[in-house]
């Protein structure tokens, strides 16, 4: 039923069904296009722009995760413009947030020879870690604003709408209604947000405690049922 579309990707002819994204088409052609915000499970918002590619005749670069193929399209997945954009995006991201727990992004930094220290005196986003519930911690100093958590909390999965955006522009952060602790919001602690977080920004509390050097026994001694048991004794 589907109509075939013929295009070239890096000079190589590719035939895919209409409606295919450039990301998928490139994958068919064996070209892996880097992404950050894109997640198969979530609505693609084309916001990290790492997946931009050059489409012949287009004024600006096209985000491969949402741009669809069309007949006769000539796509270049690498090139001076593409590489400069990707490199600069990665450098800027590294200048803004802590990427130490985002191995996938770090690999991209290396692949594009990006210098994490490219921007001196850059104001970093370093909000304090939020430890307001028993299940997971939120360290928005590692948040790359990929939006996945907000989307899975909303109509990409959970329909819970506990988190949204605070601020705007560079000062955007994920937050709750008037910064309420998560247990006081509609949050049901499904952790879909933790599941889709590409960095260490959302992390199970037990994982975080383990990183802090606590032993499993010490971690379990912190749990409520343990505290209560001791209290009873």
């Amino acid at each position: 039923m589907s109509i075939d579309v013929h295009l070239t990707i890096d000079g190589q002819p590719v035939t895919v069904p209409a409606g295919t994204t450039l990301l998928q088409a490139a994958a068919e052609a064996g070209q892996a296009i880097p992404t950050i915000c894109y997640h198969e499970h979530c609505t693609a918002n084309a916001l990290c722009r790492l997946c931009v590619v050059e489409v012949e005749g287009a004024r600006v670069l096209a985000p491969a995760c949402v741009a669809q193929v069309s007949d006769g399209m000539q796509v270049r997945t690498r090139g001076e413009r593409v590489d400069r954009s990707r490199r600069t995006i990665l450098e800027m991201l590294a200048s803004a947030v802590d990427l130490s727990e985002a191995p996938e992004i770090q690999r991209q930094l290396e692949a594009y020879e990006a210098q994490p220290g490219r921007f001196p005196e850059a104001e970093r986003r370093e909000p304090a870690l939020i430890d307001d519930n028993p299940m997971f911690v939120r360290d928005y100093g590692q948040c790359v604003l990929c939006w996945r958590c907000v989307q899975v909390c909303a109509d990409d999965a959970q329909y819970t709408f506990a988190i949204n955006f605070e601020g705007r522009g560079y000062a955007t952060q994920i937050g709750t209604f008037f910064d309420r602790p998560l247990p006081e919001t509609t949050c049901v602690f499904c952790g879909q947000c933790v599941g889709v977080c590409p960095t260490g920004a959302l992390k199970p509390k037990r994982e975080w405690l383990l990183e802090q050097g606590q032993t499993p026994d010490e971690i379990m001694a912190l749990t409520r049922s343990e505290r209560r048991r001791k209290q009873r004794k």
């Binding site: 990290c48 722009r49 600006v60 600069t88 005196e121 604003l145 937050g175 209604f177």
Partner: protein, 579 residues
Amino acid sequence: MSSLDLAALDPILAEHGPRGRTALLPALHAAQRLYGHLPEPVAAAIGKALGVPLAEVSGVIDFYAMFYREPVGRRIVRVCTDPACALAGADAVLAAACARAGAPAGQTAPGGDWTVEAAPCLGLCEHAPAALVDDQAMGRLSPADVDALLAAAGPALPAMVGGDLRVLTANCGRGRPATLAEYEANGGYAGLRRALAAGPEAVISEVKAAGLVGRGGAAFPTGIKLEGARKAAGQPKYVVCNADESEPGTFKDRVLLEDDPHSMLEGLIIAAYAIGARQAYVYIRGEYPRAFGIVQAAVAEACAAGYLGANLLGSGFDLEVELRLGAGAYICGEETALFESIEGKRGFPRVKPPFPTAHGLFGQPTAINNVETLCNLPLIVTRGATAYRQMGTERSPGPKLFCVSGDVARPGLYEAAFGLTLRHLLYDLAGGLRPGRRLQAVLFGGAAGAFATERDIEVKLTLEDLREAGLPLGSGVVMALDDRRDLRDVLRRLGHFFAHESCGKCYPCQIGTQRQAEILERVAAGRAQRGDAERLRDVGWTMTDASLCGLGQTAASAVLSAMKLWPGLFAEQPAGPGA
């Protein structure tokens, strides 16, 4: 806070609740008028009444600069610090106002009467330096006037209107809005009658024949847009007037709305008729409260006169118009961000395609046009495409409004047919530079524009000539900078403007505007580091090439043009004072 009277909110909830999420901004505006700011219980009550998840309510409040979560002063004083006002001494006015209010910009002294803010361009550039005190526009300010400023006591600010032509601005410059009777006396609503008689297809083909392109900055052919929305499958359809004029240096739409609101309305009705929309929206930026009130009154007049509503002018065509007030977000001038805002969301631009003609407001086919563009429609329909094309050039037909500001003798709104030279505009119409001053640069197209110099003075102001010269016409901004001006400071302000106004959605713009602003701050402070020029260029081109919407794609435009013209400005500077 304990004395918060939530019962007072009930009428607002009753009015807006049943309309659901789309009424979120109106409800927040109404509640803020009541309480001065939007405390948590109020936000929660609104969210519940409108069925908006609470986290999204606070997300929306945070997005718009004119909504406040925390208490603010009884009066809010917004002093414009963008280039046109800065050239006229805005910083000193701001400092004086802050001193008098007893708190730094953006803060409120405990129990303070005033909250003074440094505001992005207020669209009062011809009255620079300007401020907005609550709903009152103030201009030609000086630090000495600060008491009058804080008291919001100042003279009315009649628009300065001139030019070779007075077609679009025929009714402007009176210092008050043209009444319906005056508008009609000058041939107003004749275009609508003709349109209704001719039929939608005829209107569209006339607009196409006239060669009208959008006047908001993107210069997209209006006829094609109307045709696209008309042919798109799906009902209902919408027309939207984009009156979120926010490009620094731009004030033409404000003048049109304040002085001649029926012109825009007539254009809007014609556009709605052409595409078959029964609902129209006019989205006016939050900084234009006066224009909002005037258009509101004009809509009432038009309804009463039968130009709006059911079966308007006996045509069998129905149209409702709803006004929306923005709340301080430049990005909402981007068409899809504007839709989101009407839908009650944060003003995040959407990925395009799909384009608004197929998938616009509420996901329905939508034609969205700038105020000036709409004002051209009655003209085209009344005079016919051929007569219309006698104005301007073959490829840039029609009249055009230019917002001239900065270092000229007579800043103001000038109307001319396309094709005049920059020299004519600056020297003949705007009176040239002040005595003894030389032209250093002209900022073309606004913050998202580019610089011209004396060398470009003979350039013809047409779309085609400007494109060749690498100068964007944009929204018609022509801001003159004379030889005493520090271009680095101008750039610093542009950088700050974009960093403040980036919505934060796509990485290139979200981080790029911040990094650009930081580097420009260094450059302006004489502390440029080795490699800053290279950084600026990479950031600039990355934003230009890879940003999601027009804001990011043009956020480095002026900077990149300045780097080309004056590379020395960005060279490494030995750090330290006196160096």
